[in-house]
């Protein structure tokens, strides 16, 4: 048992659901107790989804505990098959069903006999993998299923497209700025003259999966989702993949150069150097920005970075290499992939922290006293408590991290967005000096007396106690209203009763 207040990565089934509901016309059925369909709330609220989230639960209740699910799961699958006519139904185990140890594979096979749609059991162990690992695994499982199916039916397309083309693998629902990154990556591919063969899983139909081998190569922008699929496609079809995250000016260039090598190996004969040069110096503002005198003030300022592997590694490199900021600590909560992270940030930071204990990270921040933090929502709140500004760079995230404006983190526009985020997180240049010279902002003390600070009326103890329970931002108004009410009626002492009578009288 572990005492926990906060977790960075969610439970396994969330990863499976994120992948399943990213696809078009794929339905997930969770084998779960009442209330475990909270995923639907998150998707509907955070993504502000217009459509019903294609996830339902086959409810595990007392009866299931006593007699087993029996026909229930099979019935729920065939019912959903008739109601929604999905292409694929993914039966999703949860922590509860993991310990019930029912033969879910058997349910899937029985349902498959009746259902028109394909039925799969997500192969994830709740107690061994987290959200990110489960997502990666489920994507691989679905791709493998449809590749093998196509192979059996002999309609697998393995002929390459005439022009260079790419599959972008790993864009998913509830991923940090995934929608914006996807648009930016498509634009980048367009600029490079590369066709986008498929984007999976977001917005893809499972029928497209048999066309995956037609692309010249795969691009896996995120470390956490898509690698298993890319490795599978490489093993099956010798498809090369690029797994350099194009985040930051240097890394974007590195990613493009890797693509260039792969394409030229297949006879494309492309040269992207002038494109990289032009973008870096004149299109993206980030290179110029870091050279501008404004950015000098950031030199040597201390920062802490914490997040998932992709974002924490990329931001660490941007801060250290591209902006001259001193990263005193870089960390990740992807413990299962810690070695990769260490290798990425080695040489760019003073200290590395691999942990999913938010207490340990909070303590480290307090000890290091950085000028800014780049982390998750949790670090943002640590920052609030310690009065240190924080830019959010990775999940877990709140609704404000699903902006509707265009805010990619990847590609050349991404470099602009990140530059703004970093710059705005630090206390700005001139302000910084003024604070140092004058020892703080303009005085906050009120010099004149407020309009209604004083009153001739007495408040009884219980009345005052009630008043103090009223939230601060309306308290003044309530106090004024109550006193007016009392004055009008000639009441001398204001008790709790008078307070509520006044509230009723004004109808507020």
């Amino acid at each position: 048992m572990k005492l926990a207040y906060w977790m960075y990565a969610g439970p396994a089934h969330i990863g499976t659901l994120r992948v399943a509901s990213s696809f078009k016309n794929v339905h997930a059925i969770m084998h779960a107790p009442l209330g475990d369909d909270y995923f639907n709330v998150m998707r509907s609220m955070l993504e502000r989804e217009r459509d019903f989230t294609p996830v339902t639960a086959s409810i595990v209740d007392r009866n299931v505990l006593a007699r087993g699910s029996q026909e229930k799961v099979v019935d729920n699958i065939t019912r959903k098959d008739k109601e929604e006519r999905p292409d694929l139904i993914v039966l999703t185990p949860t922590c509860t069903s993991s310990i019930l140890q029912e033969d879910l594979q058997n349910f899937v096979e029985r349902a498959q006999l009746e259902a028109k749609s394909n039925v799969l059991l997500a192969d994830v162990n709740h107690y061994r993998v987290n959200e990110l690992q489960a997502g990666d695994r489920t994507l691989h499982q679905i791709v493998q299923f449809y590749i093998e199916k196509a192979r059996k039916k002999d309609d697998l397309r393995t002929d390459k497209t005439t022009e260079p083309s790419v599959n972008i693998i790993g864009i998913s629902t509830l991923g940090f700025h995934n929608q914006h990154d996807c648009r930016e990556l498509k634009k980048l591919m367009g600029d490079l003259g590369i066709q986008v063969n498929a984007v999976i899983p977001e917005g893809a139909s499972v029928h497209e999966l048999k066309n995956l081998p037609r692309a010249w190569f795969n691009l896996v922008p995120y470390r956490e989702l898509g690698r298993m699929t890319a490795e599978y496609l490489q093993a099956e079809f010798e498809m090369p993949f690029v797994d350099i995250t194009p985040m930051g000016v240097v890394e974007t260039a590195r990613c493009i150069r890797a693509i260039q090598i792969i394409l030229n190996q297949q006879g494309a004969n492309v040269d992207y150097e002038s494109f990289i040069q032009d973008q870096t110096l004149f299109v993206s503002q980030a290179a110029w920005f870091s050279r501008s005198i404004d950015c000098q003030n950031l030199t040597g300022k201390k920062a802490v970075v914490f997040g998932d592997n992709t974002h924490a590694a990329a931001i660490t490199k941007i801060l250290a290499r591209e902006m001259g900021i001193r990263v005193v600590l870089a960390g990740t909560y992807c413990k299962y992939d810690a070695e990769w992270f260490r290798e990425q940030v080695r040489g760019y930071c003073d200290e590395i922290l691999i942990s999913d204990d938010n207490g340990a990270i909070g303590d480290a921040i307090a000890r290091l006293e950085p000028a800014a933090i780049f982390g998750t929502q949790m670090e943002r709140h640590v920052g609030k408590r310690l009065d240190i500004p924080c830019g959010v760079i990775a999940a877990p995230i709140h609704i404000q991290n699903f902006p509707i404006g265009y805010k990619p983190f990847m590609g050349y526009e991404g470099t602009n967005q990140i530059a703004d985020l970093i710059y705005n997180s630090f206390t700005l240049g001139m302000e910084d000096h003024l604070l140092e010279i004058f020892g703080g902002h303009d005085t906050k003390e009120v010099i004149t007396k407020g309009v209604s600070a004083d009153s001739d009326l007495a408040w009884s103890k219980d009345g005052l106690a009630e008043l103090n329970r009223i939230p601060g931002f309306v308290r003044g108004k309530v106090k004024r209203n109550t006193e007016k009410f009392a004055r009008d009626r000639g009441i001398e002492t204001i008790t709790a009763e008078v307070l509520y009578a006044a509230k009723e009288a004004v109808g507020a």
């Binding site: 909270y38 989230t53 505990l65």
Partner: protein, 468 residues
């Protein structure tokens, strides 16, 4: 039950598949840890439970909550680790860091399935660490959302002292305290205060409400000369009310049937079965019922109710003649529907997770009476609803307002259907005369918002009608 003779006859009760969306009952931790200030809630479950709480409570997580997960690992599930030792280690840590007056263990689906004997372990550990441990099994296998509070309060009911100790020395001390409290007040004033109350058997109210609402309802009864001897729960665990055999108890929320049963059967209390004080009609009926049990003639209630309704007219006029569909997820549905019908709305369907016809008897009777008086058809009450079927019915009925969970709200709005999230009714102050306005503020908000956007022609924001 005191109201067996008013069992409703004509209401139509259905039961569907139970495939509906609601919050897990462990969510009660969110409001109970704030209500009971010296408590610590330990949820013994998995990452799934933790993830739910973390996301459902949003920013509250960051305010150093007095709650935590005891996250079960593979070794706990396969009993390689000893439950008792593990819980002892965590509870000692909690005692060291927070020193609460009570630790509430919330049992979850997982502890049910692996049959972890929390009720058996608690007394042993309690004796060892010296902090009371209350066990509530608020799991998704058995309960929905607000019923979580019911399981906690039922467990707390067993901890209420059964007799105020009245040794002579303490009596004197008590008087001393009393003197201190009354310091500076004239003896006559104190006496006058005493005489404000009618002589009636002790009354304890149950249900967790924000402190301002507790004050309001207590004062409401005081106006009738009724003294509230205590509330379950109180602000602190150490202040749980005395409950003796023969005390009267009355519920303030519709989802407290286990607590009511426990108070009747285990604590030998008499339950006053009343409608719930939600809306001015409900509040009046609630006060009247309590008065009638104590043989008190209620004073000034009718005028008061009329006055409140007058104040609500601007909101009521927006609702009159409109229809509202309750998908059902928090058990407040019957009371809210009854109030909205009194406001002039029609209600084709009331979905509800669980319907205790005995505990809610008076509320159901008032619902029926309200329908008759307003001349509207009786709603269909659907227990354990099926959300998919309900959405088909919503498409058919095209109601003016759907009260639903957050999973369905945005998709329905995108299809041009006004929605109000049901969860807000759980967290807003909705009890008593003064808060009726807050209920209508919530219920009319989508209508007011969409009226102001009406002329833009942005009603349906999905490309084709989805299959659902």
């Amino acid at each position: 039950m005191t109201l067996a003779d008013t069992q409703p006859q004509a209401l139509n009760f259905d039961c569907e598949t139970g495939n509906y969306h609601t919050f897990c009952p462990i969510s009660c931790v969110a409001w109970l840890y704030q209500k009971i200030e010296d408590s610590f809630f330990l949820v013994i479950g998995t990452k799934t439970c933790g993830y739910f709480l973390q996301n459902a409570m949003g920013v509250m997580i960051f305010a150093e909550p007095r709650y935590a997960m005891a996250e079960l690992e593979e070794g706990d599930i396969s009993a390689q680790l000893n439950d008792y030792e593990e819980l002892k280690r965590l509870c000692e840590q909690i005692k060291r860091d927070r020193n609460p007056s009570v630790i509430v263990w919330i049992g979850t689906c997982t502890t049910e399935i692996i049959k972890m004997d929390l009720e058996g372990l608690a007394p042993k550990l309690e004796a060892e660490i010296g902090i009371p441990i209350v066990v509530a099994r608020a799991n998704g296998l058995d309960y929905a959302f607000t019923q979580g509070e019911d399981t906690v309060l039922a467990a707390m009911a067993a901890r209420c002292p059964d007799k105020a100790p009245v040794l002579e020395s303490e009596k004197a001390e008590r008087n001393a305290v009393q003197r201190l409290l009354n310091f500076g007040r004239k003896q006559e004033d104190v006496k006058a205060e005493e005489s404000e109350y009618v002589d009636h058997p002790p009354l304890v109210l149950f249900g967790s409400l924000p402190d301002p609402v507790v004050t309001q309802l207590t004062l409401e009864l005081k106006k009738q000369g009724i003294r509230v001897s205590g509330w379950l729960p109180a602000k602190r665990f150490t202040e749980l009310p005395v409950i003796e055999e023969g005390y009267y108890v009355c519920g303030v929320n519709p989802f407290l049937s286990r607590t009511a049963t426990t108070l009747m059967r285990r604590r030998k209390c008499k339950l006053i079965g009343a409608p719930f004080p939600i809306g001015p009609d409900g509040t009046r009926a609630w006060v009247e019922k309590i008065c009638s049990v104590f043989g008190i003639e209620p004073k000034g209630l009718e005028e008061r109710e009329t006055k409140i309704w007058e104040g609500l007219e601007d909101y009521v006029s927006l609702l009159r003649g409109k229809s509202v569909f309750f998908m059902g997820d928090n058990l407040l549905e019957i009371s809210l529907a009854r109030f909205l019908i009194r406001c002039g709305m029609t209600v084709p369907e009331i979905g509800i997770p669980y319907m205790d016809k005995r505990y809610q008897a008076a509320e159901l009777a008032l619902l029926e009476k309200t329908c008759a008086e307003m001349g509207v058809p009786l709603p269909r009450i659907v227990e354990k609803p099926d959300n998919y079927n309900q959405i088909q019915r919503i498409y058919d009925l095209n109601p003016d307002l759907v009260i639903t969970g957050m999973a369905h709200a945005n998709p329905l709005e995108a299809r041009g259907i006004n929605t109000k999230w049901s969860v807000e009714f759980t967290f807003a102050q909705i009890h008593g005369f003064a808060n009726a306005r807050d209920i209508l503020e919530l219920a009319t908000r989508p209508l007011r918002r969409n009226t102001s956007l009406k002329d833009l022609g942005w009603d349906k924001l999905v490309k084709e009608e989805a299959n659902v």
